[in-house]
């Protein structure tokens, strides 16, 4: 590739033609401040509208300042990133942005984690000239089951739009209006819950300010724990343990499983269980369904639809219900681990401890914002009492731990309670892209072939970080074609193939977020550093490796559950408690 030489702040640098000033500067350790710019390198999403002008720099021979994020370098270019002229301009730009930004930083959910706040600190903004004359935009706040939109705090960086449209191809959010009145919203500024939003939360994951945040249930949790007549049960999703440590100064990829259990117990949960247990249960149901459909297909049954799609991810489920309703019957009917857990906790476990479901509150701790919405779906309640009462995110848990003054890293490592805290390496892999299908493959392989996998337990071909992966697994002479997609845009491509009748797959795993649940909308913010997601993925596989049992069907508590309570996988009771169906919620144009 052709190289060009340029000088940035008196330092020479050689970069490929087409590189931007921002990237060239970064290469030699010069940190040009940015605000609207976002580069999620590992998932191929770059947002550089050049709109905020915070990254303005001086280019010799050019009259106006240039936005470093969107200006390509040329041979012999001389760039100065922090002259007095630049500093002045940058300061003015930020002052203007702040002049139309609410000043409720003390109570804002993003306080301490806000890129605009960081910028104001970095540039030493201490006053906003002309604030008394400045007009303030006002929009109503929109509360959906998962996401809160406070558009007064929108700075029009349009990162959320890039995630919603380019990466997820959901198309719920778009910029509207012009100039001062511009903001980002669904069509006709309708509430998010009436839009095609899937609640994946990737808009929240990239929002630099408090404009997009999660619905916070931590007060509900404190109320439940404070009520002596309520049994409060926690379930923790696999991806949480691989990211929570980041909120306490740990390197990305630090596992804090035992310390997290300690913290939850000290917070006052009556039982601390593991969603991984329910992930193992999911494999029993989904794996059995997969084998059942596969056997029928191989025997030439024309009524059997393949591929079978995973159904653990609620954003993905809502995506197919919204965008591909004609295909709503091909995902597995197995409920997600969160919902299986709730269903079993409020029946099997409630019976065991002789309590009524009304007196039990099941709280899930999730890397996900769509889980908040999923727990509120009507079909997951009995007489109005939800199987999972509410879901809190990894970030909300971190806040609670800090509020309770626990020094997470100095807490002793403790184990989950039994029976619903027993889990296998297969269960923990649900946290990463490729993990669910690998867990299912381990169980389906042994059930189908009757052979023990022994040392061949790792299916390397199913692992990785590419958006779409294709692999073949040999089931003792039968080749099983597996597709994996993370990100709904990638999922869309696989769905189009199925629609066209061109799909080569027997089974497909889909997760809505980059990297799977490890990159969920409820995780500690990655602030555009996708290497963090890869480190979390590594931690998930490390947890699998450290588990004494690594196959779902060998989980002793799962065996007991079927023996004592459920009967057969896919049996009548299992069907009632652990399976579901999907609905057409697409937009339809009708003749009036």
């Amino acid at each position: 590739m052709e190289k060009v030489k340029l000088t940035i702040d008196h330092k020479e640098v050689e970069v490929p033609r087409g590189t931007t000033i921002y990237k060239a500067a970064k290469q030699i350790g010069i940190d040009i401040p940015v605000l609207c710019y976002m580069n999620l390198e590992d998932i191929g999403v770059e947002n550089k509208p050049g709109g905020c002008r915070v990254c303005s720099v001086e280019v010799e021979g050019r009259k106006n300042l240039a936005p470093a994020c969107a200006t390509e370098v040329f041979d012999g270019m001389v760039v100065k990133t922090h002259t007095m002229r630049v500093i002045n301009a940058r300061r003015t730009v930020v002052e203007f942005i702040l002049s139309d930004h609410p000043k409720d930083c003390l109570t804002c959910k993003k306080s301490g984690n806000c890129e605009l706040q960081d910028l104001a600190i970095r540039l030493g903004i201490r006053e906003i000239p002309g604030q008394e004359y400045a007009e303030m935009s006002t929009y109503k706040t929109d509360y959906s089951p998962s996401i809160v939109r406070e558009l007064d705090k929108c700075i029009m960086c349009r990162r959320c739009e890039a995630m919603c449209n380019d990466f997820q191809t959901v198309g719920a959010l778009n910029a509207f209006n012009r100039g001062f009145d511009a903001a980002v919203a669904p069509a006709f500024e309708m509430d998010l819950q009436y839009s095609p939003c899937t609640y994946c939360g990737q808009c929240v994951a990239v929002c630099p300010t408090g404009a997009l945040t999660e619905v916070d249930h931590s007060r509900d949790l404190i109320d439940a724990i404070s009520d002596p007549n309520t049994t409060v049960v926690a379930q923790t999703a696999p991806a949480v343990r691989a990211a929570l440590g980041e909120e306490f100064g740990q390197e990305p990829g630090t596992l804090v499983t035992g310390k997290m259990v300690s913290a939850l117990r000290r917070l006052g949960f009556d039982y601390v269980f593991d969603t991984d247990f329910a992930a193992d249960l999911t494999i029993m149901e989904e794996g059995t369904e997969m084998l059942d459909r596969l056997k029928k297909h191989l025997n030439g049954d024309p009524d059997v639809q393949l591929p079978i799609l995973t159904s653990c991810c609620p954003a993905w489920v809502r995506f197919i219900e919204q965008h591909f309703p004609e295909m709503k019957d091909i995902p597995s009917s197995a409920r997600s681990p969160q919902q299986m857990f709730g269903s079993i906790a409020k029946t099997y476990f409630a019976d065991k401890i002789q309590t009524k479901r009304e007196n039990m509150v099941v709280v899930s701790i999730m890397p996900c914002l769509a889980k908040k919405y999923e727990s509120q779906r009507e079909e997951f309640a009995v007489d109005g009492n939800p199987d999972v009462d509410f879901s809190i995110s990894t970030r909300e848990l971190a806040h609670l731990i800090k509020e309770a003054n626990f020094d997470l890293m100095n807490l002793p490592g403790e184990d989950f309670d039994r029976p619903m805290g027993e889990s296998t390496g297969a269960g923990v892999m649900f946290g990463t892209t490729g993990g669910v299908i690998e867990a299912a493959t381990r169980t389906a392989y042994e059930m189908h072939t009757g052979e023990n996998l022994d040392e061949k337990i790792v299916f390397e071909q199913l692992r990785g970080f590419e958006g779409i992966r294709k692999a073949t697994v040999d089931f003792n002479g039968t080749s099983i074609n597996i597709g994996i997609a993370h990100g709904l845009g990638n999922a869309r491509k696989l769905l189009e193939e199925i629609k066209e009748g061109e799909s080569e797959f027997h089974a497909i795993e889909i997760m809505a977020c980059p990297g799977g649940c490890i990159g969920g909308g409820g995780q500690p913010l990655h602030h555009n550093d996708t290497a963090i997601l890869k480190a979390r993925q590594k931690a998930i596989y490390e947890e699998d490796e450290n588990k004494p049992i690594r196959k779902s069907h060998e989980n002793p508590e799962i065996k007991t559950l079927y023996k004592e309570f459920l009967g057969e996988a896919m049996g009548e009771k299992a069907h009632k408690l652990l399976h579901t169906k999907y609905f057409d919620v697409s937009r339809k144009i009708e003749i009036s």
Binding site: G171, L173, I589
Partner: protein
């Protein structure tokens, strides 16, 4: 949970389909499609935008984004007698703003709005090439020159008795 249903008249939907097909149902033709659609319907209400989005395979949020970005597009039906005030440089320096304020006061509407009886709508435009007559006001196709605020009442009176 149920489907979101958007109701539209059959003849309207057919018209939109014709327009979209004439542009090869290409998403990149959105602005041209909207322009012709507005020419036909007079404005672009929500259900029309939904139908255009559906035909072109675009998110309706994107269509709404374009409609609200360009001042040419409107979601409000225009009055039977659309009033346009030139606020180009020549008209402006000769008092177009005072004329505009008087129209707003008399009609009790803002720029971009339509009066309750559907008779008048109010808009600004930039230069109609009749600077010698500044300030200029258009009502429908009829041009009024050298308009002063105290002449506004008479202009509106011409249309008051018409249907």
């Amino acid at each position: 949970m149920s489907r979101i249903k958007v109701k539209i008249k059959e003849q309207d939907l057919n018209k939109i389909r014709d327009i979209c097909q004439a542009h090869g149902n290409q998403p990149g033709e959105l602005i041209n499609v909207l322009q012709q659609t507005q020419e036909h319907f007079g404005y672009l209400p929500a259900e029309i935008q939904e139908a255009v989005a559906n035909e072109l395979g675009l998110p309706v949020a994107k269509v709404y984004g374009v409609v609200t970005f360009y001042s040419f597009f409107t979601m409000i039906p225009q009055g039977r007698y659309p009033v346009s005030i030139c606020t180009g440089t020549a008209c402006y320096v000769r008092g177009a703003d005072n004329v505009l304020q008087e129209f707003k006061r008399q009609l009790e509407i803002e720029v971009g709005e339509t009066s309750e009886d559907g008779k008048f709508s109010l808009n600004c435009l930039r230069c109609v090439g009749a600077c010698g007559l500044a300030p200029v006001v258009l009502v429908g196709d009829k041009t009024y020159g050298r308009v002063a605020p105290d002449g506004v009442k008479d202009i509106l009176a011409e249309y008051q008795d018409k249907e």
